[in-house]
Amino acid sequence: MPLLKLNDIHCYYGNIHALKGVSFEIYHGEIRTLIGANGAGKSTVLMAISAILKPRQGEILYDGMPVAGRAPDELVQAGLCQVPEGRRIFPDMTVGENLEMGAYCRSGRAAIKANLEMVYDLFPVLSKRRRQAGGSLSGGEQQMLALGRALMSQPELLLLDEPSLGLAPLMVEKIFSLIERIAGEGITILLVEQNAQAALRLADYGYVMESGKIILEAPARKLLQDERVKEAYLGE
């Protein structure tokens, strides 16, 4: 059984038909990626999965259970967590408070504290800045904070929206290697990216989105070789 399954999802913003029948699935322990140009509907897919947007048609199953009718907080409790586009950390809260917000749905002080130490191990720079306001961090550090915050919810499935956005190439490399490490811990990852090259190198399987539809899907290695993908998204 797939951990996440989307079946013919249609979403609208007012009269704009943003998703026109999106279907895909992702299995335990995989990294799958959704690539495509700006405005293709990639983020809309993630917002629908997190129940922030309600699809007008179609069904989303997480762990075999429909997402429809569940509040975003219930999904977080069930292990589905999203790192939104633009990181969206809480700028006026300290790094420590931001991380604690990630554990908002959990109980058990000791377990949360252990989790916090794990995050500080993974991102030593956050440990150094734990009393600093989140908004004072650099872009790359904020991305780490957003990842760390999501890890504090003990996710089973992590939705990552454009983690490389606006970062210098070196930092992109660093963030992607951190994502690989997180996946190594057994966390399933759905990665949305415009940086198709980096995303496809990391992922097991990829989908290409164009104006609200998935137009192509294949194992990531194959997509890297695909002529159409090369031309449209890899700049070759």
Binding site: I52, A71, P72, D73, C81, R88, D92, Y104, C105, S153
Partner: protein, 311 residues
């Protein structure tokens, strides 16, 4: 007019005490505006009516308007709780259905609810000015607590100041050190991100209305006692002035609302005392206009950064 230095300084001191008393009441109301604005970017113009409700409920419960007279402390407690509940209901009935509508829709609804609640009070209590029967209020409140020369501080003023200070401290503790407070701050900074972290936004907004409205109710009770006058439109002017205080402090900032309330109370009393008593109300408006012209973000506010994410 006072002529000697002693007379002048005691007049000044008396005005200062009176201004601080009024200021703490404005601060209690202003905090309700600013908290709600912080989480849902709505100016709840019916907040002044919650304050009026606090005054009427406590008056009714102690004076036996509803049939039975309750002991003062019990009556006041019930009045505050009912105000908190009324705030939650107000949001549930009037504002929540409009959460995804343009902001103007909710703003107009807020004005509508304000008019509705004023008229509801008119229907229940009538238009005449009600006053607390002296017999049911603890007598010590009207006795002087401190007196030096001409300057008199009544126990009621002490109670008003202390209540405001204690409640503001408690509120700051809630906002900074509890799970609810952290969720409120998270929603204020980025509502979608908060929801993605598992914050039940609707529930936290309800608690915010409860807290703000409870404080507004307390302010209504205190004013009802202080001026000994309770009437259906009392929330209008007080509400506008407290709103001016919140704007002065920087809407969305709780310390700003507290400071703004204090400044406004002092400015109003000193303006009335030293310029002309008829200028008291005008000063609040003058301050608000000045703030909007010179420093729209207020004393502690900052140009909103999270507008970036709002469509």
């Amino acid at each position: 007019m006072p002529t000697t230095l002693l007379e002048q300084s005691s007049l000044f001191l008396q005005q200062f005490v009176n201004g601080m008393t009024l200021g703490s009441i404005y601060a209690l109301i202003a905090v309700g505006y600013t908290m709600v604005y912080g989480v849902i970017q709505l100016i709840n113009f019916a907040h002044g009516e919650i304050y009026m409700l606090g005054a009427f409920l406590s008056f009714s419960l102690v004076s036996g308007f509803f049939g039975v007279g309750l002991p003062f402390v019990l009556a006041v407690t019930i009045a505050v709780l009912v105000c908190a509940l009324a705030g939650v209901l107000l949001d549930l009935v009037a504002y929540r259905p409009l959460r995804r509508s343009p902001r103007l829709a909710a703003l107009i609804t807020a004005i509508g609810m304000s008019i509705f609640l004023q008229n509801l009070a008119l229907l229940i209590w009538g238009g005449q000015i009600r006053s607390f029967p002296r017999a049911v209020i603890p007598v010590f409140l009207f006795a002087p607590a401190l007196q030096f020369g001409e300057v008199v501080v009544s126990w009621l003023q002490v109670v008003i100041l202390l209540t405001a200070v204690i409640l503001m401290v408690v509120l700051q503790l809630i906002v900074h050190y509890t799970r609810l407070g952290r969720a409120m701050r998270a929603i204020a900074q980025d509502q979608t991100a908060a929801a993605l972290m598992g914050v039940n936004v609707d529930r936290v907004v309800s608690y915010t209305f409860a807290l703000g409205s409870g404080l507004g109710g307390v302010a209504g009770i205190l004013v009802g006692l202080y001026y000994n006058a309770v009437y259906p439109t009392m929330g209008y002017l007080a509400g506008i002035k407290a709103f001016a205080a919140a704007v002065l402090g920087g809407i969305g900032s709780i310390p700003g609302a507290i400071l703004g309330g204090g400044i406004l109370g002092l400015a109003e009393v000193f303006g009335a005392g030293y310029i002309s008593s008829s200028y008291g109300d005008g000063i609040a408006y003058a301050i608000m206009i000045l703030v909007i012209l010179v420093k729209p973000a207020g004393l502690f506010g900052r140009p909103s950064s999270n507008k970036l994410y709002r469509g």
